[in-house]
């Protein structure tokens, strides 16, 4: 499945390594306890650099979603229609993702979803997507 393959940086390596084991993770701030998404050099709430990778439950709620009828880039032309969503994770993070293994027209804001590891990247990392819970 062709996609823009996300670059790995020293900062984000722990996140991607965990995806190889189907584990969703995020940084948590040791100073203010906030979870941080996307990975940062310092906590965006308090600017502390005391950030620790923490496993997430992988469950959340659809905040909003669309149905892409026109591909966001030419390499995804074969994938339409696909769903881009903003998912609110139970730990208090909001991430951009895809909703997969679902009928797009059946989705609703507020619907519960769980992490889905069916999208494998070329180098064995997995891109976290979500499916209806």
């Amino acid at each position: 499945m062709p996609r823009i393959e996300p670059a790995t940086t020293p900062l984000t390596e722990p996140f991607w390594d965990a995806t190889r084991n189907n584990q969703l993770s995020a940084q948590q701030c040791g100073s203010c306890s906030s979870f941080v998404w996307y990975p940062r050099e310092r906590c965006p709430k308090c600017l502390s650099d005391d950030l620790t990778w923490t496993n997430l439950a992988g469950e959340g709620t659809i905040y909003s979603f669309n149905i892409m009828r026109k591909p966001g880039n030419p390499m995804m032309a074969d994938m339409v229609p696909y769903v881009i969503a903003l998912v609110d994770l139970d730990e208090g993070l909001r991430m951009t993702t895809n909703i997969v293994n679902a009928e797009p027209e059946s989705l609703e804001c507020g619907q519960r979803v769980a992490v889905d590891w069916s999208v494998e990247l070329e180098d064995g990392r997995r891109l976290p997507t979500f499916h209806p819970a």
Binding site: Y38, N66, M68, N73, T96
Partner: protein, 390 residues
């Protein structure tokens, strides 16, 4: 308000180049200097008067452009906030002129995505692979601007009951204005049904909910209010200005996708101008999508949050309506070369000067110009008024 910019400076030259074909038969570099030359003629000034150039077309854009025109500036600005850059430039020019840092600023924009290369056809402009958007959003296929804006539209519908028909009415009203603009790319009257039956791009947005992709160029000249009064054409005096941003290019980082930073910069600009909503004669706003226009009107306070759908449904934004908005046809019907904010300002000045012919609104004393850049990221509001409003 302390340190107010109210009445310190004015836009005294405003021109654009837009064709009903959507194409301009000139290079970007040619258009830039042609627009500056035309804007100076419009202002009754010469290049020798210019001591500041503002542009963001490339690395060190304002310096390179000044060099090409032989300008040695004493203030400069290459700020890049996407489509709101030109409102930001007007704000910065007014502040710099007010502080005595420069006297005559020229602001320019040119792009030819229709006759040249449209960056969005290949998934958007080239970006640093290590940028947050490239790492955390684009792998999910969000390369089209409509991807992010459709998320705002869907959430607004969910939270407030806004309908596709209400959003469509915005496109219908702006098209009515465009039908009176011979340079508009789309001039044929459309119906709500036309919008709803147009191709679905990123649901809930249809093709006619989305802006055009056309060539276009424009330039503005800003100088002190004192100098503006001596010029042949009436100045558009800068009464208020505000800029705010809620996030960068990752829509997941926007705290509430139904509320833009206009809720911050709009009140700031209007307070500085010492005006209320009833004083506004015409609104020019950045309609990258119908939802952008709706959120802008709500966040500027023309109606309550969540009531935008109902607010626009009676056609009040169109000709003869209570709140004439996007009188050139907007980014949906006039032109949209990628950063539409220039054309918002040019049309506001033309309405204040009474230059708009068939689409001229009667007795325009106050015009609001609103730019929005990124993915609902950075907004900027400029309040312009005739000399009588000072």
């Amino acid at each position: 308000m302390a340190n107010s910019l109210r009445g310190a400076a004015a836009i005294v030259g405003a021109v654009d180049a837009v064709s009903a074909t959507g194409k301009l038969d000139r290079t970007v570099a040619q258009l830039e200097v042609d627009m500056i030359s035309a804007a100076l003629d419009d202002a009754g000034l010469t290049i020798a008067d210019v001591d500041c150039v503002m542009s963001n077309n490339g690395m060190m854009a304002s310096l390179d452009l000044a060099e090409r025109m032989g300008v040695q500036g004493r203030f400069t600005d290459s700020t890049m906030t996407g489509g709101s850059s030109f409102e930001v430039y007007v704000e910065h020019a007014a502040a710099a002129i007010s502080a005595g840092l420069c006297e005559v600023a020229v602001i320019v924009y040119a792009a030819t995505p229709r006759s040249g290369t449209n960056p969005f056809a290949s998934g958007g402009p080239a970006r640093d692979p290590g940028s947050p958007m490239m790492m955390w959003d684009l792998p999910y296929g969000s390369g089209l601007p409509a991807a992010g804006y459709s998320l705002a539209a869907r959430r607004h519908m969910h939270q407030y009951g806004t309908t596709s028909e209400q959003l469509a009415q915005i496109a219908v009203s702006f098209r009515e204005w465009a039908s009176m603009n011979k340079n508009a790319y789309s001039q044929d009257i459309i119906t709500i049904e036309d919008v709803l039956s147009s191709t679905k791009v990123a649901e809930p947005l249809h093709k006619l909910d989305c802006c055009l992709v056309t060539d276009g160029a424009g330039a503005l000249v800003v100088t002190s209010a004192e100098r503006a009064r001596d010029l042949a054409k009436p100045g558009a005096f800068i009464l208020g200005a505000g800029t705010a941003h809620s996030h960068g290019m990752c829509v997941s980082q926007m705290p509430d996708v139904t509320t833009t930073a206009y809720s911050v910069c709009g009140p700031q600009a209007m307070n500085m101008a010492q005006i209320t909503h009833n004083d506004v004669d015409v609104v020019e706003l950045y309609d990258s999508f119908t939802i952008t226009a709706l959120l802008t009107l709500e966040d500027l306070g023309f109606c309550k949050k969540g009531e935008g759908g109902e607010f626009v449904a009676d056609g009040r934004l169109g000709p003869g309506g209570a709140l004439p908005t996007n009188t050139n046809g907007g980014g949906l019907s006039y032109t949209h070369p990628g950063m539409y904010g220039m054309f918002v300002l040019v049309e506001a000045v033309r309405q204040l000067r009474g230059e708009c012919g068939e689409r001229q609104v009667n007795n325009v004393d106050i015009a609001l110009a609103n730019g929005c850049g990124g993915l609902l990221s950075c907004t900027s509001t400029i309040v312009l008024g005739t000399e009588a409003t000072l």
